[in-house]
Amino acid sequence: MSLPLIFLIIFPLGKMLLMPEFSDLMSALKERVVLEALGRSLFTALAATAVAMVFGTPLAYIMARKNFFGKKVIEGLIDLPIMIPHPVIGIAILSLFGRNSILGRMLDRVGVEIMGSLTGIVIVLVFVGAPFYVNTVKAGFESVPIRLEKASRTLGAGMTSTFFRVTFPIVWRNIVLGAVMCTARAISEFGAVIIVAYHPMTAPVLIYERFTAYGLKYSQCVAFWLIAISLLLFVMMRLFSRPRRIQ
């Protein structure tokens, strides 16, 4: 039943990976522009994930543990970036931080530039990636029985100790998984990034540019390396977070 789906994923990707010639791939790697774009993609995606982790973890905990008025609305807002067309996200960020907006001018005065900068790219990537992180980690927190936290308190551990000795060790795999999803989403973002920052160029933008300017063959070489890096990154993270076998 699922075979067509598997083919749909394997064939285009396989074709993409197998088509470029080895010499082309190697020469692509020697290009400074390509290396920079790949590095930028990786760096901004990881930076966005770090931001999502710092600010998203407490949010995920509150969403999993507390009931309050308007919780459903906040849940909806967290999911919203998943549904909005990507260029719309770019336009929204542009209208908020653009050079003509109040916020944009204020930031400009203190020397922070959003449009056409790495900062801007990271903000966009946080926007599109954070929902994946928050939702995954929230599910993790929900799977930790409150009773375990209560039991820890009754044994003398305060709230902070309880979090680090009970909640976190149970939920950390969800945190890694959430980070993987967030990075994955961020590294693949194109539509929103291209509106906020065509330059400095990330890998997807470079691939698009090479496709429109030089054609399929040139874009494929960059795409190959982007896919390879992503694959390596995710396999490593998965291995690292493999469930420990319990005797």
């Binding site: 029985p145 009773r147 039991a151 308190r153 551990a157 100790s161 005797q247």
Partner: protein, 344 residues
């Protein structure tokens, strides 16, 4: 010593109403009531895991109503044990030691004592998912007891175990209580467990404490129809006192061994009703009646006997049923000893 005064908790769909309770040092105190009566709620409130709407909780004279659970110096063992799944048995037991000022040597001694007493030596490196219910229970007990809590709270410790393990655990709890001298407060819905373990207790029903006292008092002198039913007095009737120690039960004259004043209920254990086909019992109320129903309970029978307008329930052995050829419709005679009749 724990003192609970006027404790009130409102939750959606349930409330605990103005509970008063006193647990003395070294007591094995039982909070007894059917499922959903609020006894676990009371336990969680004492532990500090539930916000309290009104009232106070004192531990050895100190008001701990607003104290966070980690500073109360109490221990709790949950019904589902709540062991930490990511830690092995040893780490589970030692979890709380670092938060208490226990000298290294003493904590090691306690650890060894508990591991020996609970027979956990061969399980120390195992994780909770691989343990049986009884093993988990013993780990949870050790984890709480190693901290030498002022009071150990036990939430239905027996209900999740099979009958064989229940007996083992009952003996273990009893000997731990005697050896350690720790005050125990146990929640239970089974009065027979309570009879074996506890020395004092309170009966709780629909969020209200109905009666408190020694287990003997609760067992012999229940103060309400509910309490009477709960401690096994299956026959509970409304009565009209006549004169002195005689009462009328729906037209039936019954003699008691004590005078009744102001009492309007009569209660009687089913096992106190004697099967007396020859009418030979003396010093008792004797009646002729008809067997309405026999219910086979394995080792004994529930026997429902109609005497005029009153239906009694008796519990007789299989042997008696066979010997007297009892079956529905049989006319027989019963005797009710005067000293087995309880009024309130």
């Amino acid at each position: 010593m724990i003192e609970v005064n006027d404790l009130t908790i409102h939750l959606p769909g349930f409330s605990l109403k103005s509970a008063n309770l006193k647990v003395e040092d070294h007591d094995f105190f039982a909070l007894i009531g059917p499922t959903g009566s609020g006894k676990s709620l009371l336990l969680e409130a004492i532990m500090g895991l539930l916000p309290v709407d009104r009232g106070t909780i004192r531990l050895n004279g100190r008001d701990i109503t607003a104290t966070p659970p980690e500073e109360r110096g109490l221990g709790i063992v949950y019904q589902d044990y709540a062991l930490f799944p990511h830690l092995d048995v040893k780490a589970n037991i030692l979890f709380g030691v670092r938060y208490h000022a226990i000298p290294e040597k003493e904590s090691q001694e306690r650890f060894r004592f508990l591991v020996d007493t609970m027979n956990l030596g061969h399980l120390l490196t195992r994780h909770p998912v691989t343990l049986s219910g009884g093993e988990k229970q013993r780990v949870a007990l050790s984890r709480a007891l190693i901290l030498n809590p002022g009071v150990l709270l036990l939430d239905e410790p027996l209900s999740a175990l099979d009958p064989m393990l229940q007996d083992d655990l009952k003996n273990l709890l009893k000997s731990l209580h005697q050896e350690l001298g720790t005050t125990f407060v146990m929640v239970s819905h089974d009065f027979s467990d309570v009879l074996f373990l506890a020395n004092r207790g309170a009966i709780i029903h629909k969020g209200e404490i109905k009666q408190a006292g020694t287990i003997q008092e609760l067992f012999e002198q229940p103060g309400s129809p509910f309490a009477a039913q709960f401690v096994g007095m299956k026959n509970v009737f409304s009565i009209t006192p006549c004169n002195g120690s005689a009462v009328t039960l729906n037209g039936l004259d019954i003699q008691l061994d004590h005078p009744v004043t102001g009492h309007d209920h009569l209660a009687l254990r089913p096992e106190e009703i004697v099967c007396d086909p020859n009418g030979s019992a003396s010093g008792a109320n004797r009646f002729a009646g008809t067997i309405k129903k026999l219910v086979n309970r394995g080792f004994y029978y529930d026997v429902f006997i109609r005497v005029q307008e009153v239906e009694f329930m008796a519990q007789w052995t299989r042997r008696e049923i066979v010997k007297n050829r009892l079956e529905p419709g049989t006319e027989t005679r019963i005797a009710i000893p005067r000293n087995s009749l309880h009024t309130f």
